[in-house]
Amino acid sequence: MTEKITKQYFTYGDSPNVQLLESGLELGPITIAYETLGQLNGAKDNAILICHALTGDSHVAGQYCDDPPDTPPGWWNFMVGPGKGIDTDRYFVICCNVLGSCMGSTGPASINPATDKPYGLDFPMVTIGDMVDSQKQLLNHLGIRQLYSVIGGSVGGMQVLEWCVRYPEMVRSAIPIATTMRHSALAIAFNEVARQAIMADPSWNKGSYYEGSGPHHGLAVARMIGHVTYLSDEAMRKKFGRQLQNKEDFSFNFGGDFQVESYLRYQGSKFVKRFDANSVLYLTKAADYFDLKNVENTVESLNDLSHKQSKFLVISYTSDWLYPTYQARELVQALKRSRQDVSFCEIEADCGHDAFLIEDSRLTNLIRGFLDGLATA
């Protein structure tokens, strides 16, 4: 049975209690959209925070109460629910939409109280650390002082790591999946191309497009680039090869011959309907700025954890070329050097970076076993 979920909103940071951002700028008030599954127990020690990836949202699992029956459930429905890997019969699961996004939390498309118009580029730059600070505000509001676990993939994994460095006393365990301690030149490069695609669209209008149609074409191209990085050579070869879309022979024009072209165009146009272009600019930049080494250096910042040991489970995928396994191993290395209790497993999968979003009993069993093991530790 699919759980029935309601999206909730928490607002804080009214003047003068605005949030001081890593950039030195201030932001407030801030609204965070979040969803919860399961029940918080009396001791409030069974909460698990799930952090979503770049363009994800708070709808981690289940269906909304007013969804028609055939509506697809949340993005990690195979993992989160009663009796599943992250068992909502036992754990109280929280998932927030990140600061800077457009799926209910405050971001560049939100109304700037100073002008009564959407922020656009007046929205201050936010970092992964700022996102984590806003999640901390929500947990304070919910009265949760320690998380049983913080779990997330990709940019969600960056939030997991930032949690461990910023609030180690609040993290009993952490599962960073398909992620990295710092964005590589390759990852920054792809993000920059995506941003340039948006900003080169005349409809972008320096970020002030909310009264018009918006940079649909630029945003679609940005998504197409993103999708290439989420797949892998092998996945694309198996899924599309050189097959043509609805035709027998080349058209000898630019209408699109190959299935892979058609797929990317479809993904691009689908994305435009649900996501804000300025949010892509801000969120990709936040990912690019992410570098745990900036907090002095990783070993030192993770050393802060040593007084209170957290347990870590690091997971990577063989075909992930956005955050390849060597980057996960760097993280494991840093954790070992700072005497953390860390487990690591690379999962064989040919579907690329997005593998953690595809149902796979290996991932489910790893997470279930790790969470169970904490109870006996």
Binding site: V332, D341, S343
Partner: protein, 208 residues
């Protein structure tokens, strides 16, 4: 002498387990499905970590709640701080290591004490095969042919004692046993161990 056996533990592992002090920090190299670690966690409340190359086995360990890293032993041990563990266990792997001396040096850095076990190549049945058949020996403990064996090092109890002396390790404990790989029972071999034991288990520490 027959040792009392902890339940569900292979005889050689039971000997190793009996040397581990309760509550200690233990690193098990090549931990397989985590049998020894799980037993030690349950019966001796250790803080255990395992390293296992095989992805499926490493995943099995994590699924049963153990802290295990999937990776190559010689690379993984390099990252730990000095004396990070009370015991480092290298069970029946030494004979498969390309540079055993380098590895043992690394292990004695990260562990206060190192437990090493390996099949004894000078067991009389192995000697007989070379002597009478003139062929590379096979036994229950060393079941491979010369062309497909992972066991690239030929070690005897006498070799290991001499190696320890030369490199500068003190042998704190030593146990020669006669057992079969998957069997739960076995015996400690007290006399003529180099000839009669199928396995040697050593607890060594670096001379200070």
């Amino acid at each position: 002498m027959v040792l009392p056996l902890p339940e569900h533990l292979r005889f050689d592992l039971a000997v190793i387990a009996s040397w581990i002090e309760p509550g200690s920090r233990v690193l098990d190299l090549g931990c397989g499905n985590g049998t020894l670690l799980a037993w030690l966690k349950q019966h001796k409340q250790i803080q255990g970590t395992g390293i296992e190359q095989d992805k499926r086995k490493a995943a099995t360990c994590i699924e049963r709640g153990l802290s295990v890293l999937q990776g190559d032993i010689k690379e993984e041990v390099a990252d730990y701080p000095d004396a990070a563990f009370d015991f480092v266990i290298l069970s029946q792997t030494l004979q498969q290591v390309y540079q055993p001396d380098v590895l043992l040096k690394s292990l004695s850095r990260i562990g206060k004490q190192v437990i090493v076990s390996f099949p004894n190549f000078s067991h009389y049945r192995i000697r007989m095969q070379i002597l009478f058949k003139g062929q590379a020996p096979k036994s229950r403990q060393l079941p491979y042919s010369w062309y497909d064996t992972p066991n690239i090092r030929v070690i005897t109890l006498a070799d290991f004692r001499r190696f320890s002396r030369e490199v500068g390790y003190t042998i704190v404990k030593e146990c020669a046993i006669n057992t079969h790989d998957e069997e739960r029972s076995g015996r400690v071999v007290a006399f003529f161990s180099n000839l009669r034991a199928t396995y040697g288990i050593f607890l060594i520490e670096k001379n200070t």
